[in-house]
Amino acid sequence: MTGLLPLFDKELREQWRTKRLLVVLIVFAVFGIASPLLARYTPELIRALASDALASVIPPPTTADAVDQFLKNVGQTGVLAAILLAMGSVALDKERGIAALFLTKPASRAAYLLAKLIAIGLTLLIGTVAATLAGYGYTTWLFEALPIGGYLAMGLLLFLQLMVYATLTFLGSTLARSSLVAAAFGIAVLAVVAVVGALPGIGPYTPGGLSAAGRSLALGTPPEMLIGPLLVNVMLVVVVFVVAWLAFRRQEL
């Protein structure tokens, strides 16, 4: 893995200097804060605006609503961020000749790809941790204290989910010569995963299926399935990365 550390250092600096890390951090934190707020006050808002008959059927907000809001908001925003971060990472470098610049130095192609993917992963991890801590704090303040270990485990499962989408888009970016094609690849994968996720028996093993396990852990209840989906998604990240490397290894730049 020749050249991994200098390339990783460069990628990490790029995440910071191009403000990607900062934007991800802020956006994730905002959604982390907003999710329990929305869960807490949306019913009250509707009740205040709706007729008495309608208001009487709106149930009072619960901690589970706050967790659901969090998974929905941070999950959707996170997937978008994962696709945006990964789509141009390799394709743009190839297009601009920057890949050729570094790969004519003592740097292996595996190191070049891994440095990029780790930097993207770290950015998503920092964003997810910020969202999780903010979400936990506001959920505790507005509802009740949930088990911190379970809530953090939910955050980690959410991060794994985002990494699957980031790695799949990264594969697209490695195969394509344009970041737009890579983005289309990521969105197509998102659609396919959504369809596959609806299939009985397979759904829990898809990235979206990790949300159900995360929800249970956050609420302090044992998840129906955890180890299987966890391993499948970790393997998916590894296998997709290896496929990207195999494709990139022989590419002309």
Binding site: L5, L7, K10, R96, I98, A100, K105, P106, A107
Partner: protein, 325 residues
């Protein structure tokens, strides 16, 4: 370094054996056989589209040959192994860099890839910035650099680790005359320590700094020889005749008449002057002057030009015939 002599076998730094590259129906490089001895400045000449960049990309391992192979210091280039061993420095013809970085940061990353650390890294980066004239702009973002500054930075990152082989693709094409002079001088200074293979279509540059040149056209190697030998072998002596303004309208008839002068092989009408090629300058010179005097042609200039690489190039590629036609 003096030209290769039969009794002085030099170590080969760069070798191409039947190197071929095809893009669909286009044959970009056609069975290139080349040996570049260690320590010289080797010019890779040819018009745009001749196959120079393709050959350099094959040498860096960025592209893969359709047939044949290339070696740097005896190591096949196809999987980029010479790059991983730090054997080559490469400058692209249109060098691009991450625009958010500063020039210094870029060189630091490159230096770390070559295993440099701390004081050695700082010293080498400072020396390189000084060498390419970017010390003052070292802390500026590359996004704000001019084309010339990017090309200098490109040269800097290529020479940072003092590689045994330097592959430079049109290294002075974006530079102003002063910058060009500086960079060519730097390249000349690197000879000995490094083997420099540099491509250009500016023949005067090659003539100025190269020990040996290869001329490519349409993907084929036309010749490969020391500069002096090429000039001797291919460049015909040329007389330049510039009539005064009163006789400019007589140029076509004058050209026709001078073709019959003994020793003259060709007369080219070249925008207000005549270029007379000869295979016997001792005979042709006086005869030309006599012919001009007989026709009472007033002259601004009559001189024998030193043959240059351009003449060789035009002759080898057949473009002098095209130009004459």
């Amino acid at each position: 370094m003096p030209p290769l002599a039969p009794d002085q076998p030099a170590v080969t730094a760069i070798a191409c054996e039947g190197l071929t590259k095809r893009f669909g129906s286009v044959l970009a490089l056609d069975h290139l056989d080349l040996r570049v001895p260690e320590g010289i400045v080797f010019g890779f000449l040819g018009p745009n589209g001749a196959g120079k960049t393709t050959a350099l990309r094959l040498l860096t391992g960025l592209a893969h040959p359709t047939a044949g192979q290339a070696k740097i210091a005896g190591i096949p280039t196809v999987h980029g192994e010479p790059n991983r061993r730090g054997l080559i420095g490469y400058l692209d013809q249109d060098p691009r860099f991450p625009t958010w970085m500063t020039g210094r940061e870029l060189l630091e990353v490159v230096g770390r890839l070559y295993g440099m650390r701390d004081a050695e890294l700082r010293q080498r980066v400072d020396e390189t910035l000084e060498l390419v004239g970017l010390s003052d702009a070292a802390r500026r973002r590359i996004g704000g650099y001019s084309g010339g500054m990017r090309q200098r930075l490109g040269l800097g990152q290529a020479v940072l680790n003092r590689p045994p082989v330097l592959l430079l693709d049109e290294p002075v094409s974006a530079l102003d005359p002063e910058g060009r002079h500086d960079v060519l001088t730097t390249i000349r200074q690197l000879a000995g320590g490094s083997t420099v293979l540099f491509s250009t279509h500016i023949l005067a540059d090659a003539e100025r700094i190269c020990d040996r040149v290869a001329i490519l056209d349409h993907g084929r190697l036309l010749t490969d020889a020391p500069v002096g030998e090429l000039l001797e072998r291919y460049a015909q002596p040329v007389y330049r005749i510039e009539p005064d303004a009163r006789h400019l309208d007589q140029l076509p008839s004058l050209a026709e008449a001078l073709r019959d002068v003994p020793g003259v092989t060709e007369v080219l009408d070249a925008f207000g002057e005549l270029r007379v090629l000869t295979d016997d300058p001792a005979q042709a010179g006086p005869a030309l002057l006599a012919a001009l005097a007989a026709r009472r042609i007033g002259l601004v200039a009559f001189e024998r030009l030193r043959p240059n690489l351009e003449d060789v190039f035009l002759r080898l590629t057949g473009r002098d015939a095209e130009r004459a036609a």
